[in-house]
Amino acid sequence: MISCTEFIPAYSELFKFLEQKGGKAAVISFWEHLSDAFLNNLRDLATKKGLAGCFEYWSHSLSEEAADFKMTLDEENNLFTIEMRKCPSKGRLMEAKHLKPYHAYCEHCDLLYRRVLEPLGFEYNIDLSNCDKAECKLVVRKKCK
């Protein structure tokens, strides 16, 4: 095994490897399969508890990943946000001098979670414009019926 603390470089390397094999389409195809098969925890929580389920899912995973973030659940306004001040994954990839992150590494967060949440009736927006600083902002809204 490798340690779970060594996973992110292996993940970034997987995206590079897939792109070498079949271009960006091969990477996107993997992300789609991963979202469908691996994110059942988020899917179940968001289905059962709505935005509170999103809060529960990310508070667990981002705490275990030692992220630097502020997460807000505003149930009155049907709004869930994550202000990522330092993404633990991108941050580590950038800090390690021997690693060159996959050029579109942060895009997996857009595809993976959007694909889970939009079919459940949520609006999903992620601002990746500062991802070269390991920062991003995620906004999820419950669509009004």
Binding site: M1, S3, P9, E64, E65, A66, K70, H98
Partner: protein, 159 residues
């Protein structure tokens, strides 16, 4: 603040970095590559991981020899609360894994598991060793979370 607003504000140093569900994501990647491209491609990927992401360990292995590998694996087994016995003698490092923390986590949390997961150890160790002038073997039984890994300098014909 309204009682309908909930906030979680965490700094990087508030929590330890240990997200064991990442083992599941790697397991899924192996299954995906096996099914979509075949096992040879999975090996090719894992060896690329070994060469590209373990460069510091490769350099330590070249410089310090097998003690660098012993140090590395002791650290990760401690971090992940695994159980392994280490023996370094006569130019051979033997790691007897009695409880693989990754497999234990995957099975106890009922995550996707592929019996090919241990190829991670086989292929990544091989790539690290080849890059540093060493050889290795790994005997494992799928799903049991136990294996015996051996490492020796290339050409010394240990095993």
């Amino acid at each position: 603040m309204s009682d309908k607003i909930k906030v979680l504000d965490c700094k990087q140093y508030d929590n330890e970095y240990l997200h064991k569900d990442f083992h599941g994501a790697l397991c899924y990647a192996i299954k995906y590559l096996d099914e979509k491209y075949g096992p040879d491609t999975t090996s090719e990927y894992l060896e690329q991981v070994g060469r590209a992401t373990f460069t510091p360990l490769i350099e330590e292995l070249k410089k310090d020899g097998l003690i660098a590998l012993e140090r590395h694996f002791k650290r990760i087994f401690k971090l992940e609360a695994g159980h392994a016995e280490f023996e370094l003698q006569n130019g051979q490092l033997t790691i007897t894994v009695l409880k693989c923390p990754a497999i234990l986590h995957l099975l106890t949390t009922k995550q996707l598991f592929t019996e090919r997961y241990c190829q991670t150890t086989v292929n990544i160790n091989k790539a690290i060793c080849e890059a540093a002038g060493f050889e290795c073997s790994c005997d494992y039984k799928p799903s049991e979370g136990c294996c015996v890994q051996r490492f020796w300098r290339k050409g010394e014909n240990k095993k």
